[in-house]
Amino acid sequence: MKKHIFLICVLALFTVSAMAQVERNMGIIKSSLIGLEYEVKAGFNIGGTSPLPLPREIRSIDGYKPTLCVAIEGDVTKWFGVERKWGMTLGFRVENKGMETKATVKNYSMEIIGSGGEKLKGNWTGGVQTKVRNAYLSIPVLASYKLSKRVNISAGPYVSFMPNGDFSGYVYDGYLREINPTGTKVEFQGDNRASYDFSDNLRTFQWGVQAGVSWRAFNHLNVHADLTWGLNDMFEKDFDTITFAMYPIYLNVGFGYAF
């Protein structure tokens, strides 16, 4: 008796799950029939926020650390036409972009505004350490092309909103000339560090272009590499402390599950 009940329960379970499976499969088959593809992606962001071209004041990059930046994305692609060669992808990505660098600069003109409104203008020669860590909600809108059965390429613009960002660091091992290169020289050596924090001057809205390639490794499992290139300055318009524009350029590599 017990054995019978047990068997019936198992059979019932199988039937229920089989039906659900059929329902879900039906959903996917329907989507596939109208050319819709969904993908969930996870990856790492590696890259940096850099001025382009590197201004002459930067004499050397003395250190670079990518830091751990994760990107999680959900994409939907609509494939067009009978052959399904071209498509359009809309994505929603939650990601971190960040880096840590050390550089040596020469005669770099800057103005620091203290929290009490105090202004110090001058030319810095010496070491600059920078740490960037920004969180973004990004929406890429891409044109996709099926290069082959396994390989897709995509390109297009993206917009990003930055709910919180950190751009800070310190200067070390160098000297400041007050006001201009002929001003009073004040040295800063040894273990001394003067820290700065420009996080409040970062732009909340950024946009750029993205181009990438995706390779179907296994059934449903893709490996991708997307290069995102920011096209507007990371800092607000009237921020003069950093005199050149900084652009986020990152490569997103990871894997995704397509269904």
Partner: protein, 371 residues
């Protein structure tokens, strides 16, 4: 899954390496130098009484009273690539000062230096009636005296570095300034000031008001503040007493390195030192002004009590044991004197109270020739 993560790590590091190589290869060629400094000034050794004083816009040569400066050709070294006009090594009559213009390597910047010779040492009576303004930007005052040979001799203070904090709105907001209502005429006012948010970025929360005979080296002020106050100028008499008038009130809250220290009261300081120079010791500074083995005489106030009334002090110069003065060396400028005032006795360690104020006036160095 683990191997995939490991693969991702390796890929991440490889891409990181490629990125830094990419950035590195984009480094542009170095721009020519923009600075226009005189780095050293050399004149024949036998005419100098002390090291040439090179400041951002002036060079002062303290020469012996019998030196012939009517045909002097100072030789300068400059920021690499810079040029100087008139040319280095040109002979001039330095009984009057001469202006040299230095042009930077990139030709965008020029700086004028006032090069002068001053003959005798410092005066011994200080009334604090005369101040000049910071060259060019005129944001703060510089006390000076006229020596017996008519040369302008400046007092040293930390104003040239305090100005970087951009806290002061007017000249009297600086740690060192001139005030009315002196014991006679005007007087010197020394106030311990906050360095604001910029000062806290470098961990130097307060700036004591200081005034001293000597020069202030702004270059080392942030890296090694004790070494930036260079005390002393050549002095040809043997000092016996330091006399003068002061008023002092400590500030309300004593802080050490930005942290409040409850219950501690700030104290001012007045002292004078007379020391010998040699090949290794060209001047004394904040690290050794009261401890150097080169000290011969030291006068230091022992009870700088807070008071709002002008109070007279008369302090003897106490000899250090076993030290004596060589008359020949004295005549040749081998000894130096410094008089030092500060509104916070531990100000060079960034300990003190904002608002501590020391007024001094009618100070005199009484020396053996007076008696």
């Amino acid at each position: 899954m683990n191997s995939l993560k490991g693969k991702n790590m390796k890929i991440r590091n490889l891409i990181g390496l490629l990125f830094s190589v990419f950035l590195f290869s984009c480094i542009q060629s170095e721009a020519p130098n923009a600075e226009a400094d005189i780095l050293t000034c050399t004149v024949p050794d036998d005419i100098l009484k002390a090291e040439p004083e090179i400041e951002n816009e002036s060079v002062t040569l303290i020469v012996k009273s019998d030196a012939d400066i009517t045909n002097l050709a100072p030789v300068f070294t400059l920021t690499p690539g810079a040029t100087i006009n008139p040319a280095s090594g040109t002979a001039f009559d330095f009984t009057t000062p001469h202006t040299y213009t230095v042009t930077s390597e990139d030709k965008n910047w020029t700086k004028n230096y006032n090069v002068r010779c001053i003959v005798s040492g410092i005066s011994t009576e200080y009334h604090f009636e005369t101040v000049s303004l910071e060259p060019k930007y005129e944001r703060y005052q510089v006390f000076y005296d006229i020596s017996s040979s008519g040369d302008v001799v400046n007092w040293g203070s930390a104003n040239s570095v305090y100005v970087l904090t951009n806290v002061a709105n007017k000249m009297t907001d600086f740690p060192t300034s001139q005030a009315d209502n002196g014991y006679e005429g005007k007087c010197a006012k020394l106030v311990t000031c906050s360095t604001g948010s910029l000062g806290s970025l470098v961990g130097m929360y307060i700036a004591a008001g200081n005034l001293f005979i000597g020069t202030f080296d702004s270059g080392s002020a942030l890296t090694n503040p004790l070494k930036s106050t260079r005390f002393g100028k050549p002095f040809e008499h043997i000092p016996t007493y330091l006399s003068g008038y002061y008023k002092y009130q400590p500030g309300k809250e004593y802080t050490s390195k930005g942290q409040v220290v409850p219950g501690k009261t700030d104290q001012g300081d007045i002292y004078a030192i007379f020391y010998e120079t040699d090949d290794n010791v060209r001047y004394l500074d904040g690290t050794n002004a009261l401890t150097s083995p080169n000290l011969i005489y030291v006068a230091r106030i022992s009870d700088l009590k807070p008071t709002d009334e002008w109070t007279h002090f008369y302090i003897p110069f106490v000899p250090r044991p076993g030290k004596f003065v060589d008359k020949e060396k004295l005549k040749n400028g081998g000894y130096q004197l410094a008089v030092v005032f500060s509104s916070s006795i531990r100000g060079d360690y960034f300990e003190g109270a904002v608002g501590s104020t020391l007024y001094v006036d009618e100070v005199e160095v009484i020396h053996s020739d007076n008696e």
